[in-house]
Amino acid sequence: MTSGPASLFDKILAAHTIKRFEDQGTLVLIDRILLHERTGSVALASLEEDGRALAAPETVLATIDHIADNRPGRPALSRMPGGEVFVEAMRQQSQRAGITLYDVHDRDQGIVHVIAPEQGFALPGVTIVCPDSHTCSLGALGALAWGIGTSEAEHALATRTLRIPAYKQMRIVLTGTLPEWSTAKDVILALISRHSARHAVGHVIEFAGPAVDDMPIEARLTLCNMAVEFGAFTAMIAPDEKTFDYVEGRTFSPEPAQIAEARMWWKTLRTDAGYTFDQEIRFDVTNLAPMVSWGTSPEHAVPVDGTVPEDIPDDSRALDYMALRPGQPLAGLKVDTAFIGSCTNSRLSDLRRAAGILRGRRVAPGVKAICVPGSNAVKRAAEEEGLDRIFTAAGFEWQEPGCAMCFYAGGASFGERDRVISSTNRNFEGRQGPGARTHIASPETVAWSAVQGRISDVRNWAKTPVRPPDERVS
């Protein structure tokens, strides 16, 4: 590592390497740790039980997101029956340990991977971990961020370090220009469906190329968010001027006096010319269609105007679970529920694009539609722009921030066997409720499908006239 070209990952790893082991593993300094009530509380309880102190509580930020009540005004602490114990535990543990907590009613509360960038907690070049698999989202800012289990969270909290093995490196170069109605979500779904949900196991992904350069920061967060659905250890994007502008002036960002010094280092965080990756994928996004999933893994996805594949193994449970046949078109499938939210697609730009589809239109009769902004900051900003009124006028419920219906935690649920069009990241069996049939897609596709009452191609939106108000009621 001392000579020759180095990758973005190599450079951040080198800056954090405390010790190298014979097996090429590394003991790395963990700069910042994120916790949420669902898994963080268990890690903190376990440390307390073992009588271990936190090495650096000032580097830890906690939030209540996974099972926070999402109903307007939050009449309860948790949406999960008995879930209050997790919220209460997190509160007491945070106080005892001296951890900053973004509590349920905090003005900046939100989904951990939405607030980490918003608060400047995630920054270029930092190592950041969280006992949550979607921590890879934060690599979009040029951080080395990855999801861990509870035991590793305990290790990071107690020692300020983690031991990681040597990972292979994969570069995914996105070329061309995204068409108007295709998004970062469609890119990552297309990649996973082409290469399989396990293709990137054992790898760190670096996303690069002109189509990545073109992406706003929030789109990059969506792209990196689903790296775990590709099997990757994590994903990263080299920080650029957009990144530097984005991170400046936030709660935990560098002080103005130190920003120049930070930028000097951040500008070096790019893969050197001549570096050879273990694997490289090139993908021209110019003709990419909006994607939608048909099965029970994110690799089960096709263009929205496509059909369920014919060559599905006989022993696959996916078609039975989803009540679909090989060769069946996706567009036109009747949906019961539409959900916009989650750490994948609940940021302001996501809500703006969905609202653009919904403006002046109404959700089809019989469709239950829910929008859950990713954080209170997103919710406030959206309300200042009047997006909430567009959602509610269209028939969407406008709820309080949190992970919400991305996963079922007991309590309120979609109906059993409901077909759900969802801007989330996982279409696993039972993920959104017992028997729930989840189709994941971009927020635009979710919004347009909600209006049509069927999985629909958002590229037809502009061609479809708005019906006058009196026709909408029946």
Binding site: I18, F21, E22, D23, G25, L27, L29, D31, T39, V42, R52, A55, E58, T59, M80, V85, A89, T100, L123, V126, P131, D132, S133, I148, G149, T150, S151, E152, H155, A158, T159, T161, R163, P165, A197, R198, V201, V228, G231, T251, F252, S253, P254, E255, E261, S297, S316, R317, F407, Y408, A409, G410, E416, R426, F428, E429, G430, R431, P434, G435
Partner: protein, 211 residues
């Protein structure tokens, strides 16, 4: 970390790819701020016909409810086992039920590390080896795993596997990863002290009280 050296036991087969931690332990089954009390919720949606309503009526079609499923301690599965959510509850539930060895074509990365941290041995085999193992297990053979020799045996089969050396040593000796790392505490402290000079901009960790 719990110790693992050798294990022999009854095996079950789940011949699917991409079995997620959501399937291994649904979120609603994680009811306490604790690592225990999860075995009952293992594979709940597959194992009980009335799981959605909190019921516990066994589904006779599910492998753990068949023959000697209740006493199984080895699980053989397809590719990408334990993908998805990082919830370590998946491993705690498997272990509480009695599983000590999981053999699969590949694993979700976080799940793999979680296994090793809890004395459950994750064994990666080739697709051909997994198929042969499934066949042998379905014919009634027990499975034997030896971590010292890094071999997995069943009937006439004898496969070698590897575990990252660090995890192997931890499991064999039953070491606590935290204690091992804390032995290097002076090194860590020195590194942090130097880093604070190099990257002073990072060490702003106070949230303004007006937040």
């Amino acid at each position: 970390m719990s110790e693992f050296r050798k294990h022999k036991g009854r095996a079950v087969v789940m011949a699917q790819d991409n079995i997620s931690t959501d399937q291994i332990i649904p979120s609603r089954e994680m009811k306490r701020v604790s690592k225990i009390g999860l075995g009952d919720g293992l594979f709940a949606n597959l194992r009980y016909i009335d799981a959605a309503k909190g019921g516990r009526t066994p589904d006779p079609d599910f492998v753990l409810n068949q023959r000697d499923g209740e006493s199984a301690s080895v699980l053989v599965a397809g590719a990408n086992f334990g993908c998805g959510s990082s919830r370590e509850h998946a491993v705690w539930a498997l272990k509480e039920f009695g599983f000590r060895v999981i053999a699969a074509e590949s694993f979700g990365t976080i799940f793999f590390n979680n296994c090793a941290a809890n004395g459950v041995l994750p064994v990666v085999l080739t697709p051909e080896e997994v198929s042969a193992l499934m066949e042998t297990v379905l014919a009634g053979s027990h499975v034997k795993a030896d971590l010292e020799a890094q071999r997995l045996m069943a009937g006439d089969l004898d496969f070698s596997f590897t575990l990252p050396p660090a995890q192997r040593e931890m499991l064999l000796k039953g070491l606590s990863a935290i204690d091992v790392t804390l032995a290097d505490k002076p090194l860590i402290d020195l590194f942090v002290a130097q880093d604070q000079k190099l990257r002073g901009w990072l060490y702003k960790t106070e949230r303004p009280s007006n937040g």
